[in-house]
């Protein structure tokens, strides 16, 4: 991540991106996913998410908020200040808040308790903007620190099991003008929308394909997307109303996915279409 901050490398990356985006766009339809795979491979050493990660690491160590404190004492589940491997073991139950939290809701807790940042500011900001932007950068930093680790969200505490059950219920919950649920597209490995392959998120393999590659840098929008944002856009396309940031349904779905993906590998941050 340091290397990418140097002018030469980022210029190369920029050029590479231009070239690659053009070449992906020029792919014939049947080979679009091949094009994406090629694109991923070519910039494997330079996922643009690294820029967010670098910013996130700085934010982690920088005093901020009304308490002028850093996040370095934040407990992401493996003890105060432990970042390595923490994302691979989320969501999980936290005793101090007495609830199951995903990475983003946990970071909000740390920012509130340690730094004095009002969680409402974060919730109310649009994705990629204001107080939410800082959370997203820290997410990039934290998930990179779980790269190549085994997905292992604990499923022992009764509240974790409860959240899993809620997530499963939500996964199959059909509603809205199109009668869609998550399962409408994601309970069968052989299906696709247009040319986009759809993982079966009810299976260990399929769930790992989803959970193991998000959060991700999204080429089509040119932004780093957290899991909250990914789920938000799923619901938008499902023609559901707007899921509140870090609401129960979003944390429950993440719990369901992470538990199903257990034993898979974290490839975060991913690189997505």
């Amino acid at each position: 991540m340091k290397k990418i901050m140097s002018g030469g490398v980022s210029a190369t990356l920029g050029l590479g991106l231009c070239f690659l985006v053009t070449s992906v766009g020029a792919q014939n339809a049947p080979t679009a996913s091949d094009g994406i795979a090629k694109y991923r491979e070519m910039i494997a050493d330079g996922n643009p998410a690294e820029l967010y990660e670098a910013e996130g690491e700085q934010l982690w160590k920088k005093a901020a908020g009304s308490k002028n404190a850093t996040l370095e004492k934040c407990d992401l589940g493996l003890g105060a200040g432990v970042v390595k491997g923490a994302a691979a073991q989320l969501p999980r139950y936290f005793k101090d808040t007495n609830r199951v939290q995903d990475l983003e809701s946990r970071l909000m807790t740390c920012m509130e308790v340690l730094q004095g940042i009002d969680p409402k500011e974060i919730v109310d900001a649009p994705f990629g903007k204001g107080a939410k932007k800082a959370v997203e950068a820290v997410v990039a930093y934290v998930v990179t620190s779980s790269r190549d680790m085994k997905i292992n969200a604990p499923m022992k505490h009764p509240k974790e099991k409860e959240m899993y059950a809620l997530g499963k219920r939500a996964f199959y919950y059909r509603g809205g003008a199109m009668d869609f649920s998550c399962a409408s597209c994601h309970d069968d490995a052989s299906k696709r929308i247009r040319l986009q392959d759809l993982p079966d998120l009810t299976s260990a393999k399929g769930a790992a394909l989803g959970w193991g590659y998000w959060p991700a840098y999204r080429v089509s929008s040119g932004e780093f997307w957290t899991m909250q944002r990914r789920l938000n856009d799923c619901y938008r396309q499902q023609r559901f109303p707007y899921p509140n940031y870090v609401s129960d349904v979003t944390i429950a779905l993440s719990t369901y996915l992470a538990a199903n993906a257990k034993g898979g590998v974290m490839h975060t941050p991913g690189l997505k279409r």
Partner: protein, 210 residues
Amino acid sequence: MKTSQLIFRASVLCALGLASISGYAQTAKAQAAMDKAIVASFRDEGIISVASITQDETQALCSDPKMATGKAGAKQRAAIEAANMETILPPYDGVYLGDWKEGEKVAQSGRGATWTDKSSAVNGGGCYNCHQISKAEVSHGTIGPSLLGYGKTRGNSAAVVEYTWGKMYNAKAYNACSAMPRIGHFNLLTEKQMKDVMALLLDPASPVNQ
């Protein structure tokens, strides 16, 4: 068999029965609480209200994977299909087929009906998202069956035309827990758009039937 054994067996049966009844009540109660938590997680945004995910009977039944397929929910699914069949209305003027060229545009567009769309926006049918339709469009989904050669294979008898209209109008009339949206029932497309898609599928001149 001794009386004591009989009494024992009867009491085991009673206990099992009671346990399963109270288990069911508990499950139903837990499910209701979960549904409440799900709905409470959303807010109104743009043209989409939280009320839109309050489930009707079809959505409620089909949200239970055990009931959506297989023997357990067969009876309930038949009732759901009958109720959905009642909702199907023929075109106002009795003309089922429009312009296949316009139908192709409707089938191509997956736009509309999200919280980022305006109420004045024209919805697409999103047909290619899930179906192969014309040979020329290779970027098609596979969630639904291929419709390539739809009219050529089936002809366009009154029965085929009415079935196709009905299936598009309310797919749940034919398969209670189908993945396909109820396009006419929920006004996702206008009647004209539906006629145009009908022509795309059934007009002998449509590329679908070449």
